[in-house]
């Protein structure tokens, strides 16, 4: 960069090639296979909780009259069948059953090919579950990273919970989830500016949420509107700054993840909204392999 003549001549590599090489290095930063194995266990163990306990509502859609079915673009293009009680329960319990099976196989480190196929099946069933859930007038936006995780986890190949060998394909899979998490924050900020305008930060959006679903902790804040306004500025700043998460050192990433988790918990305590699938995906930033593999040295 500097004007002084270097002793070592710079290699004649185009900027494009160097950028491509750097991008490739970043996307394929190897991680221990144990990390992707642990992340798989986390995701596939969480899925039944999500489908059966946290968001079982898709199942009720099987009983809703077909006139109220408003299929989304994918549902119209494929075209997917109108939900019925049989269909929704097949999808719901199918996803749960396959998830239970894959967790067992990962824990036993058996049948990696079967794991791949199970993973692909779980992704498709969960996607259908989402389409059933969101085709009745309301689309939620809290699980993009989770869908990305389900899509990429089968691509990372064989991984055992105690296999510390570095793997670039596991690195790519976790990177995809990380970018999915950050994109959720960043593009949520973009959507606020798109729909609410910059005035969103000073609007009464959170006040509305508190009126509609506030808890004992949040309700008193309605009398102090500036606190809610301040939290809107805070949220917008946080979301726009989120890409920094991708480029932090691991130690700071862990602090940042702890901070984000507490942000989501406080939101839950205030307005009973928590994006659990998204929160689970924050674990893609953590060295999960350390849970089972203590450092020996």
């Amino acid at each position: 960069m500097s004007a002084t003549t270097e002793a070592e001549p710079a290699p004649r590599v185009g900027t494009g090639t160097r950028v491509a090489a750097a991008l490739s290095r970043w996307w394929f930063t190897p991680v221990p296979r144990a990390r992707i194995a642990a992340f798989r266990v986390l995701i596939y163990a969480f899925l039944p909780l999500d489908v059966l306990v946290l968001r079982p509502w898709g199942a009720a859609h099987g009983y809703v009259d077909a006139d109220l079915y408003r299929p989304l673009l994918i549902g119209r293009v494929l075209p997917l069948p109108t939900p019925t009680p049989t269909l929704v329960h097949l999808v719901q319990y199918g996803a749960v059953g396959l998830s239970a099976a894959i967790v067992v196989l990962i824990a036993m480190n058996r049948a990696p090919r079967v794991q791949t196929w199970l993973g692909a099946g779980i992704f498709l069933l969960y996607l259908e579950w989402m389409l059933v859930s969101f085709s009745y007038g309301k689309v939620d936006h809290d699980r993009f990273a989770f869908l990305v995780a389900l899509a990429v986890l089968p691509t990372a190949g064989r991984a055992a919970l105690r296999d510390m060998a570095p793997s670039p394909s596991a690195g790519w899979a976790l990177r995809m989830v990380q970018v999915g998490v950050v994109a959720t924050y960043f593009l949520a900020a973009i959507a606020k500016v798109r729909y609410g305008g910059w005035a969103w930060a000073n609007s009464t959006t959170i006040a509305r949420a508190v009126i509609r679903r506030g808890t004992m902790l949040a309700d008193p804040l309605l009398q102090l509107p500036w606190t809610l306004q301040l939290s809107q500025w805070f949220i917008l700043t946080l979301e726009f700054a989120s890409p920094a998460l991708l480029f932090m050192r691991q130690k700071f990433q862990q602090y940042a993840v702890a901070f984000l988790v507490s942000f989501h918990v406080v939101t839950f305590l205030m307005i009973r909204i928590i994006f659990m699938p998204h929160v689970v995906c924050l674990a893609a930033f953590l060295p999960l392999e350390r849970i089972l593999n203590r450092k020996t040295a």
Binding site: S24, R25, W27, F28, P30, R33, P56, W57, A59, A60, H61, V64, D65, A66, L68, R70, L72, L73, I74, M130, L131, F134, Y136, G137, K138, V139, D140, H141, F144, L147, V148, A165, P166, S167, P168, S169, W172, M176, V179, A183, T184, L187, A188, I190, A191, K192, R194, Y195, G196, W200, S203, T204, T205, A207, R208, R212, L222, Q223, P225, Q229
Partner: protein, 166 residues
């Protein structure tokens, strides 16, 4: 801890082929490229690539905060308030709000709600009359006044000659 560059000699099995690298880079660019376009130009219909517009709208400091609810009658009963939920009618408040223009345009669509109720609760008396109401809470300078105004948005009845009453 830091094994910055993967060297094939240490672990050949962990390497991915160059085609494996290529499709992954293309997939990453496609997924996040489409998602970014969706954020600026897309709509909910483009799920999962639509804009992440949860709580994205701005609301005024003074005005009203509204929720929709259902009011129902079954054989011989009076109007009763029902909060839409997966358990009551298979759809929640937000879903009713999402389809509100349809109900306002064609109140007979409420028959489908009554049918959904019967499918979910076959042992309970069927709903004979159904209406969607909007309950608005007045907000003055970001503080709710506590005053609730109720408006009927759509009404349906199995008996077509039913007299309308506010």
């Amino acid at each position: 801890m830091t094994s910055a560059t993967p060297s094939p000699s240490t672990d050949p099995a962990s390497e991915i082929t160059s085609s494996g690298r290529w499709w992954r880079l293309v997939a990453a660019a496609a997924v996040f490229g489409v998602l970014t376009v969706g954020a600026f130009l897309g709509s909910d219909d483009h799920f999962p690539f639509g804009p992440f517009r949860m709580y994205a709208t701005s609301s005024q400091a003074t005005g009203e905060v509204a929720v929709v609810a259902l009011q129902i009658k079954s054989e011989g009963s009076d109007w009763t308030l029902v909060r839409p939920s997966p358990g009551t009618v298979g759809m929640n408040v937000a879903e009713f709000e999402g389809q509100l223009p349809r109900f306002e345009e064609d109140p007979d669509l409420l028959a489908a709600v009554a049918a959904s109720r019967s499918a979910l609760h076959p042992d309970e008396p069927a709903w004979t009359d159904l209406r969607i109401v909007r309950q608005a809470t007045e907000v003055v300078d970001k503080v709710p006044t506590g005053e609730v105004v109720e408006t009927v948005l759509a009404q349906w009845s199995t008996a077509p000659d039913d007299a309308e009453t506010g």
